[in-house]
């Protein structure tokens, strides 16, 4: 079960080796999320249209290991962009991956860039 979590490690922007071309921007709901298949992994991408920002994280929620975070709701917590899991509303910072409810588990996050109307996800 936890081997799923081991597959997802935060990739700092400085360590990006490959930018994975995900899909056109138009495929991602405004102010919402969608899931991208990156090889055998599932990455949730969030389009913060109101701020013109994009974030990406693992799609699996570390609370119960379900592939659901892209279906959650985005928002902010005292200025920190966050995602709330649709299953039990655990919330995670999309800047650091940290759990914002004070629990132990956190999520891996990935850099996103937009080029010529396409969304790219930074991977190792």
């Amino acid at each position: 079960m936890n081997s799923i979590l081991e597959q997802y490690k935060t990739v700092p922007e400085s360590e990006v080796k490959t930018w994975f071309k995900a899909a056109p921007v138009s495929k991602f709901p405004e102010n919402g999320g969608a899931c991208v298949k990156v090889n055998d992994k599932q990455i949730a991408v969030f389009n913060f249209t109101a701020e013109g920002k994009w974030y990406a994280s693992q799609n699996v929620c570390p609370h119960k290991m379900e592939m659901v975070l892209s279906r959650g709701m985005i928002g902010e917590d005292c200025g920190t962009p966050k995602i709330a899991c649709p299953l039990h509303k655990k919330t995670f910072s999309l800047e650091t991956g940290e759990n914002l409810n004070g629990e132990d588990y956190s999520i891996a996050i990935f850099p996103v860039k937009i080029e010529e109307g396409f969304v790219y996800i930074g991977t190792h």
Binding site: M1, N2, S3, I4, L5, E6, K9, A22, A23, S26, K27, F28, P29, E30, N31, G32, A34, C35, V36, K37, Q42, V45, F48, A50, E51, V60, P62, K64, M65, E66, M67, V68, R71, G72, M73, I74, G75, E76, D77, C78, G79, P81, K82, A84, P86, L87, K89, T91, N101, G102, E103, D104, Y105
Partner: protein, 839 residues
Amino acid sequence: MKTILVIGNGMVGYKFCEKLMTKTNGVNYKVIVFGEEPRPAYDRVHLSEYFSDQDAERLSMAPRSWYEENNIELITNERVTDIHRASKTITTISDKEYTYDYLVLATGSSAFVPPIPGIEKKGVFVYRTIEDLDATMSYVEEIKKNKSDGKAAILGGGLLGLEAGKAIIDMGLETSVVEFAPRLMPRQLDNDASKVLQRKLEGIGLDVLLSKGTQNIEGGDAITGMRFSEDEVLPVDMLLVSAGIRPRDELAKTCGLDVGTRGGIVVSNDMRTSDENVFAIGECALLNHMIYGLVAPGYDMAGVAVDQILGGDSLMPTSIDMSTKLKLSGIDVASFGDALNEAKESESIVYENKFQGIYKKINVSKDGKKLLGGILVGDASDYNMLHQIFLNGMKIPENPEDLILGARGGESASFGSALDLPDSAVVCSCEAVTKGAICCKVNDEGMTTLKEVAGATKATTGCGGCKPMVTDLINESLKAQGVTVKETICEHFDYSRQELYDIVKLKGIKTYAKLLSTHGKGKLGCETCKPVAASLFASIYADTGNDHNVIQDSNDKFLANIQRNGTYSVVPRVAGGEITPEQLIVLGQIGKKYDLYTKITGGARIDFFGAELHELPLIWKDLIDAGFESGHAYGKSLRTVKSCVGSTWCRYGMDESVSFAIEIENRYKGLRSPHKIKGGVSGCIRECAEARGKDFGIIAVEGGWNLYIGGNGGATPRHAELLAEKITNEEVIRYVDRFLMYYIKTAGPLVRTAAWLDKIEGGIEHVKDVVINDSLGLCDQLDKDMAGLVNAYKCEWKEAIENINEQNNRFAHFVNSEESDDTIEFVALRDQKMPKLWA
């Protein structure tokens, strides 16, 4: 100025420096620290994390600059080789000499390697330093390069061994844990707990071998196997030894300090060794004939030594807490106090659930008044609270089993709130932060978040095990302060739901972005205010779940209830519960076609479970083609109007309850509200439809219908109260219209009619006045608003299917692939299926 020399820059040696600096601000003492390792002190407790990120920086207790800023001379890579007590000097490996006034030994321990023949072979490692991990990792890589099915073993099934085992599995080798004792974690667990843990570990792929004494390490130059007996050999390519620790007392021995027969530098409870100018702290110190192999007691020792040097009189407490929680994500194991009932002073209460892999045991004093210890495997969520109850000798419930089973039958939880702890309770043992200190930050210094409190007190920054309890303390202190006096929606809106309802309606606001920019704060909002806004747009403009999709709550977003494994349920409307044999057959066919788990709900209709996201539109297309509509089982909206068969068939029936239930359900279907709404219509006072347990209940009596409102089943059952007696069908509908509309306008988010009626000033009499006597002059408006909503009804699933386009299909699992989610797993259940259980 006096000189303090610290030998050993591990966790405890560092903590000594930190505490000394806090107390003296770095003046009066010259401090020199010697560390044998190449880098400054790091967090050994979280050493395993290095396996996954190889980030030594992250483990660091403090950077070199910290030592400089505090005028501490830190000399790493330099082992101290001799102590000359007569001249109060020490010498180091490079033959330098230093003089001390006080000497602090914080030399820690080394891994104990049992003298098994062959243990010196290549491929045998220990698990103590970053260098050990580097060596282990590169050997694993080598094994993986040379063979595809490399195997590893861990010698020792204790706390560290299991952590190491998990790390090696994650590196990709098949791994066995070999334990001499007949159970895992023999110092913390009993046999039954060990069995439950063993099954959990096997579940993550860790092989467990118990009662195995290793006679010999096989192989030539490098290890190839472990021999347990004449004819039992476990072939392995590497071995990690985790068989206990040995205090590093070699320096103490050679300079004539007292050491224990089985090792360890003897100290008294002021942390002085047999030489009053020499202290020993941490894992090298033998206190009460014990080596305390945990970091928290080591930190306490550091504090005592600092205080003693500064002339204080603190002493180590007489009993030292050895409670532990295993840090394997996903596997809950904890034990506290006298877990094994070694003192034989207690009676045990045990709860075991083999199906879910849960084992809980508590040891209670013979008089039933005190909690003396316990073990939790599989579900350690109550560990913090139980641990506190034990530590503080708090009163336990009359039925001690409530501690592990929860209070059954009563309203409240068995052990109240974290606020009940005494102020002196140490909540974060790594940093010795008390409950009082945490609450003080909230109550006196105005802090409101975990981040602030952690920054100010260091609580939660050690092992992190206390995070849930610290979070509780902060939240409950805030609550006790009445911080949410005004029932505002959340940090983004300073309005109550009722105020927002009026704002949206009066100003004609139609989007969340507009509402936030004109009446809220920030640009993004959150998961609390967004669904409230969506619900308001639905209740005011009859917008559906398809509109404003990204602000809809989880279930409304996909017009289906999300289930345990991320699949969904499908509930078509069956108004009043009346269904034809043809409809039943169609439902059966659809259930079969999509292989859905099927059951009859408590709301008297049919629920299909296990639909994957991308299947929802397909299933609904079939249902709609067969004449079904959305049942809104996912919405804060009308659910069902339950009926009894009534005068149509029943010999006691006073009126046609089925016909009326169907009419009413169809009238309010799709109506969205602060919480869900359920109705019931019974044909007589025998009340087979349980109408008085519903938000509105209608019961046929001699001379008309009695109308009741504000009933609730669920968590806090409440019988509905009589609103009007012996009224006609038309009157029922008029009053229900007004009552629902008044509730929709005035209730808080997620407040059901029962709680709303309990809270509203004047209670049922007030509602009667408003909806029957028009005391507020609202009735016209309420009638009009409801008529508007009823007329605007459309089946939102029909709407959803019509609007799906290939470009943007919100029901696709991936945006860049047609594939479905291959992580979803089902297992068989009777003749159907169910999601795989959560670990």
